[in-house]
Amino acid sequence: MLCQRCQQRPATVQFTKIVNGQKSVQHLCEKCAREQGTFFTAPMQTLDFNHLLSGLLNMESSPGFSPTPSQARCSNCGMTYQQFTEVGRLGCPHCYESFAGRLDPLLKRIQNGTEHMGKIPVHAGKQVQLRKHLERLRQELKQAVAFERFEEAARIRDQIRSLEEQLESNRG
C-alpha cells in the first residue's frame, strides 16, 4: 500500500488516532508519519523477520557482492533499493531485474541457489516462446529492409503483426 498522505512511498507505519472514542487509522510512510504528528514516537525495534532480512540485505561482505547504490531505483515501479531494505518487500516483478546485483547474493544465502527447478506455467511458457520468436522476426525485418528485400520485409511485417495480436489477446 502507498502512503495515504504523499501517495509516493510505501506505507510502513500504521497511525491510529483515538479522539473521544472515535478511532481512525491512517497508513503512512515514515517521513509523513514524522511530519504529521506530535504523537509519533520512534518505531519499536523488535527483532522480527523483516529486520533479520534487512540485516542480511545490508551485509556488504557477501561473496559476489556488486555494489548497487542505495539510490538505485526500479525503472518500472520507482521503488529504491533503500526502501526495499527497509520494508523487506519488492515493489513489482521488475525489481528482481533492477536490483539483480544485490539480490543474487542474498538469494544464494537464503535459498538453495538461484535457479528455479520447479513448475513452469504452460501459458507463460508459450508467451516466452512467442516473445522470443517476435524478437527474431524483428531482427530479420531490419535485415530485409537494410538489403532492400521489400517483398520479404512485407511478409515478415505481417507475421510480426499477427504475433503481436496473439500476444495481446493472450494477455487479456
Binding site: 500500500m1 502507498l2 528482481y96 527447478m117
Partner: protein, 358 residues
C-alpha cells in the same frame, strides 16, 4: 441454534474429517504465491491496481476450467465485518495480514473451505489448500490444479531463471510453502521437543506456533514447514518435509509408548485431571484450554478416555478462539466474559459425547 447444528454449519471440512496419521498430524497445508505480470505488488498498490487484481480473479473464476474445481465465493474484506474476517483467521483460511487488508484484500473460498485463495495479501494471489491428516501430496495436487485453471486466464510474473516472482525474495521460485501441523505431547512430556525442533531447523525447515509466523506454540501443537522455495522442485520440497514429519511421528509414537509403560499413573492423572477441568470448570482462558484439550486428546489416543470423539481437539481449538466464541454467542464479549462462555461451550461440547473415563 443448537451447538451441534452450529458445528455442522460453521466448521470447515478439515476440522470434521480424519486422515492418515491423524493421531499426530492435525493438518497438511500447501500454499503457493503467484503474482500478475504487469501490476505492482500489493505494497505499492493503488486502489485501481488492487481492483485490477480482483477483477482479473473474478473473470478467471467465471471460466469452465475454474468452475470445474467446485463452488467458490469471492468476498472482499471491505464488505465483511472484522469479526467475520477474524473467524476465517481462526479457521486457518486466511492470514492475519489479509484480515487487516481492509481496503484491498479479498478471498475466494471454496464451499467446503478446503481451498482458499487470498487476494492482495503480500502477493497478488496465494492459493491455499488445507487437508486433515498427513496428505501433503494431495494438498499440493489440489493447489496445482487451481493454479493451472487460473493460469490459463492470466499472465503470471514468471522469470525463466528465478521462477515465480514474489513480493518477498524468501518466496521466489516455486512460491510454495508446505506446512504440517502436529500434535506432539509425547515429545514435550519426555523433554525431547527442544532437541527435535533444533534438528528440524538444520535441514531447511522451520517450526512455528499454530497461528503462523511469530505465533506462540500452545497445546503441544507445532507447525513444521519448508523454508527454501528456490533451487528445489516442489516434489523435492514436499519429500524433504514428509521425510522429517515421518521421523517426528515415529519419535512421538515411541515417546507415547514410553509414557504408557513407565509413567502410566502420572499420565492417567494428568489426562483425567484435565478432562475433569474441561468438563466442570466455569472459567477457561485460551491457553489453559489448549493445554487441557491436548491432554484429553492424548488420553483418547492412548485409550484412557473412551467415547469422546478424537476430533475434539481441533474442533475446540478453533471454536474456543475469541472471534468464534462471539460468533456462536452472537454478541460482543470482553476477555473476562469470553473465559466464562468458553468454559460453557466446552462443557456443552463434551456433553454431546458419552465419555467413559477409566
Amino acid at each position: 441454534m443448537s451447538l451441534s447444528d452450529f458445528l455442522k454449519r460453521a466448521t470447515s471440512r478439515w476440522m470434521k474429517d480424519g486422515g492418515p496419521e491423524d493421531d499426530i498430524v492435525v493438518t497438511s497445508r500447501v500454499r503457493i504465491a503467484r503474482n500478475l505480470d504487469d501490476v505492482p505488488f500489493p505494497i505499492l498498490q493503488t486502489d485501481s491496481h488492487a481492483n485490477q487484481v480482483i477483477d482479473t480473479m473474478r473473470r478467471a473464476m467465471d471460466t469452465p476450467e475454474f468452475r470445474a474445481l467446485g463452488k467458490f465465493d469471492l468476498l472482499r474484506c471491505s464488505e465483511t465485518s472484522p469479526l467475520d474476517r477474524q473467524v476465517l483467521v481462526e479457521k486457518h483460511l486466511i492470514s492475519k495480514d489479509l484480515a487487516a487488508a481492509e481496503r484491498h484484500g479479498a478471498v475466494a473460498l471454496r464451499e467446503d473451505e478446503l481451498v482458499s485463495i487470498m487476494i492482495n495479501e503480500e502477493d497478488h494471489l496465494r492459493i491455499q489448500c488445507i487437508l486433515p491428516g498427513l496428505r501433503l501430496n494431495e494438498a499440493w495436487q489440489l493447489a496445482n490444479k487451481v493454479d493451472d485453471a487460473l493460469e490459463s486466464h492470466m499472465v503470471y510474473a514468471f522469470d525463466e531463471r528465478l521462477g515465480y516472482l514474489t513480493a518477498c525474495p524468501t518466496n521466489v521460485g516455486t512460491g510454495i510453502r508446505a506446512s504440517v501441523m502436529m500434535h506432539v505431547p509425547g515429545l514435550v512430556l519426555t523433554g525431547q521437543i527442544e532437541r527435535m525442533l533444533g534438528a528440524v531447523s538444520h535441514v531447511g525447515l522451520t517450526v512455528r506456533g499454530i497461528y503462523g509466523e511469530g505465533s506462540e506454540s500452545a497445546g503441544n501443537l507445532f507447525q513444521v514447514s519448508n523454508q527454501v522455495t528456490l533451487g528445489e522442485s516442489e516434489q523435492e520440497i514436499l519429500q524433504n518435509l514428509s521425510g522429517v514429519v515421518q521421523q517426528l511421528i515415529d519419535h512421538e509414537r515411541s515417546a507415547r509408548r514410553y509414557l504408557l509403560s513407565e509413567m502410566r499413573e502420572g499420565l492417567e492423572d494428568r489426562v483425567c485431571r484435565s478432562f475433569g477441568i474441561l468438563a466442570y470448570a466455569r472459567r477457561m482462558d485460551s491457553k489453559e484450554t489448549l493445554q487441557r484439550l491436548s491432554d484429553v486428546r492424548l488420553g483418547i489416543d492412548l485409550g484412557i478416555i473412551k467415547g469422546v470423539s478424537a476430533g475434539i481437539l481441533k474442533e475446540l481449538m478453533v471454536m474456543s478462539q475469541p472471534a468464534f466464541l462471539q460468533k456462536y454467542y452472537n454478541e460482543e464479549l470482553s476477555p473476562a466474559e469470553r473465559d466464562i462462555r468458553r468454559a460453557a461451550l466446552i462443557r456443552e461440547r463434551l456433553r454431546m459425547d458419552d465419555a467413559e473415563v477409566h
